[in-house]
Every structure is written in C-alpha cells, then in structure tokens.
Symmetry: C2
Subunit: 231 residues, 2 copies
C-alpha cells in the first residue's frame, strides 16, 4: 500500500485489451518480443510519484494498492485511460486535400494534419478519407501488467531520482541539512551555458520542494574562477 | 592618465570631420541639437574599461591620456576608426534585382541586401545601381569630443557597473570578501526563468574575474522556497 508523495519505480507492459497490441513498455525484452522496440527509447523502470498525476489515472489509482516487488495485471477502462471516443472528432476530408498536404493516406496510418494535431486514417474510399482526430487509444480498454521494482525511502535517493528525471544524468553535488531545513545543490560548469538550463533548475527545485522536502529552502550555487573560461 | 583595466565613464560627441555630421553621442541634448535624437536610445555616459577593446582603437588610445573631468577634442584617422575603404566592395547591380528584393533605392540610403549585410546606395543611374558594402564610416576621419565624467575606484563600484552593463539594472546582492578572495552574488527570483539568463551570468562572471577581481572565486546563489512558485 502506498500513499501520496511516495516515490516508486515501476516496470510495465501496456496492451490494448481487444487486440493484445503492446502500446508501451519499460522492458526492452518485452518491446522486442512485441515488435515495438524503438532504438531511440531508453528502456528502464519509470519513476512515479504518487499523487503527481503524470501517468494515466487508472494506472496511478491501481499503484496505491500495490506493494514493493508485487506484480499485478489489471484492466483500465477508457475513462481512466485516454478518454472515451468523441464521434464529432471524426471527419470526412477529400483525398486531394490530404495529397496537397503531402499525405498519401492508408488505413490506420497516424498523420499530422494542418492545424489539427495528430489524426488516424480510418478509411480511404474513392476520393473520400475518414480522419479520426480522437487520441489513438481513446475508447480503448487497456491491460496493464505492472511490477513495483523499487521504493525510495531516503530524501537523498528521491532528490537523486528527480535530478535524473530533469538532467537525464546526475553530475550535481547535493547536500541535505535536515536540522536547518536546507538543501544545497552545486551546478557544475558543464551546465553554465546550456540553453534552457534555467527551466530545468526551476522544475527540479519545484519537484524537490513539493514532493521531497516541503518547507525547506533550496539553494543552487554556481562557482566561477579563471579556469571556468578556459576551453 | 589611465592604465589597463581602469573603469571610466565618458560622454562624447562623434562627428564625421568633413561634413560635421553627428554620428553618435551619449548626450541627449547634443543628439537633439544635431537632429539625430533616437527615442529608443538611453542617453547616459558610456562605461569604458581600458584595454577591453569594445570601442574603436583611436578612441581607446586617446582615453589613456586623459584625466578625470578632462574634456578634449581629437581627430581619429580611418585606420583607427572604421578602417579604410575597400574599392572591391563597391558593386554594380541592376535596379530590377534590388526591386525584386523589395528595395526601392535612392542615393545615400542604407539597405540590407540578400546575403551581404548592410550596404549604402551610392548612385542610381538608369537601370544600374552602385552599391557600397564598406562600413558607412569606412575611409572617414572622425572628430571625437570626449569628457571623462567619472572614474571608478572601488571594486564594488566596478562590479555594480558590470551588473548594470549585463543586466541593464541592478537588483543583485553582491558581497566581496577580500581576505578569502571570494565574491558572492545572489540572483533574485525575478530572473530564475528569464530566457538566456545563463549567458548574462556567464558574461558578468567573466568580466568581473578578468577586469575587477582576478584570482577571485565568484559564486552565484539562487534561493528557492515554497514562495518562489507562487504567482
């Protein structure tokens, strides 16, 4: 049993219930077995902070009832996954219009349409194409097979997990001073000129102060000297 | 008499010697008098760090020989200003080509040409246009009337002047610890999400450690707490 603000790592395989199609997994072997392996993706357990709402509601709710090392398979209804289907989001457009946009539509293809985000091609009949602007998994009941592989207990572990989330690596030096309610993070010079680093630092500070050390003061320090400017 | 790394503020009026045309000034009244007043510009004395080479060589060299509150007028030859004219940078193009680029050329107009930066229109004769890609002030002898209005002595004043240069205002908290050779700068939360702030901080640190406090260690601190995230 978990509670709000618990930090857990999960491995999972998510499928469409009707078809058995694997739509997402954290496990490389499962991705290969299902022929959905993506070389761009890093297969590793996913950090979930309970109550953060970064995963679909049905998954998050189910996680509260698991325990460390427990594995479970459960069904998630569309309203707790990607929503129900909205029939008004299904539109008929002309084949020539799509071709003008550089799209040569075939059934089940997912395409990016002008001004409308992503759409699924449902059918192509003569000059008429049925476009579905619903989320590809809207209306689908999902099957999640989930295992809680790790539970983080110590504030230091949780801070490191958040650094990994935002920086994609951990080269920061972190010190947690429980007595004075301070957390001190040193940013190394490699990051001084990284474009967008201010947003990464802001997000990390927000997550640490919200989920790990509420009431604390977080201080970033960046140390420059003559060597900083040498190539 | 000044030396390298001295911080001075100057007021000046710069003219083309031949024509008397005012090309630049730090003094609002002079700009208005010469009909070159620009509402976008902030008229105020310019910070010059001797040896930094951010102003034209002839001006910087002359400044070394002035004293505080001294005012002097001197001539600067083209090679110590915007360089000599390069005749190969004068080109003849067709009027129709410029019109295709949306330019309706008239003599003395400064235009931005495709792939070539700025150019001055020298003449328009029939269908032929003479374009000059030299700097508008190349080959011109300049007259500078300069006054050293302020000389900074204390490291704190110099650091503040550099903060003003890079941040355009001074909301930072700065502490210089001479004994331990440390300078500590606190960045307030207003700047945490400013796009490009990492470059501003980098440039400020580089200038302080180069021109004011060589051999020191500079530390930026940014303090976050729950209030940081309130709107």
């Amino acid at each position: 049993m978990f509670k709000d603000n618990d930090f857990i790592y999960i491995d999972y395989v998510a499928k469409i219930k009707d078809t058995g199609e694997v739509i997402d997994t954290t496990i490389e072997e499962e991705a290969k077995k299902a022929n959905v392996y993506n070389t761009e993706q890093k297969y590793k357990p996913l950090l979930v902070i309970l109550g953060e709402h970064r995963v679909i509601p049905g998954l998050e709710e189910a996680l509260y009832n698991l325990n460390e090392n427990e594995e479970k398979e459960f069904e998630i209804q569309p309203e707790k996954a990607y929503g129900n289907r909205d029939p008004s989001k299904v539109k008929i457009v002309s084949l020539s219009e799509l071709k003008r946009q550089g799209i040569n539509p075939r059934p089940n293809m997912i395409v990016r349409v002008e001004g409308g985000g992503y759409a699924t091609i449902r059918s192509v009949t003569g000059g008429r194409v049925v476009l579905d602007l619903n989320h590809p998994y809207a209306g689908r009941t999902l099957m999640y097979k989930v295992k809680v592989v790790k539970v983080l207990k110590e504030p230091k572990e949780k801070v490191d997990a958040l650094i990994e989330r935002w920086f994609k690596e951990n080269k920061l030096n972190t010190e947690i001073l429980q007595d004075s309610k301070n957390v001190k993070i040193t940013i190394p010079k490699d990051y001084f000129l990284v474009d967008g680093i201010e947003i990464v630092k802001y997000n990390l500070a927000r997550d640490i102060l919200t989920y790990v050390l509420p009431g604390f003061t977080l201080t970033y320090t960046e140390v420059f000297n003559e060597d900083t400017f040498k190539r």
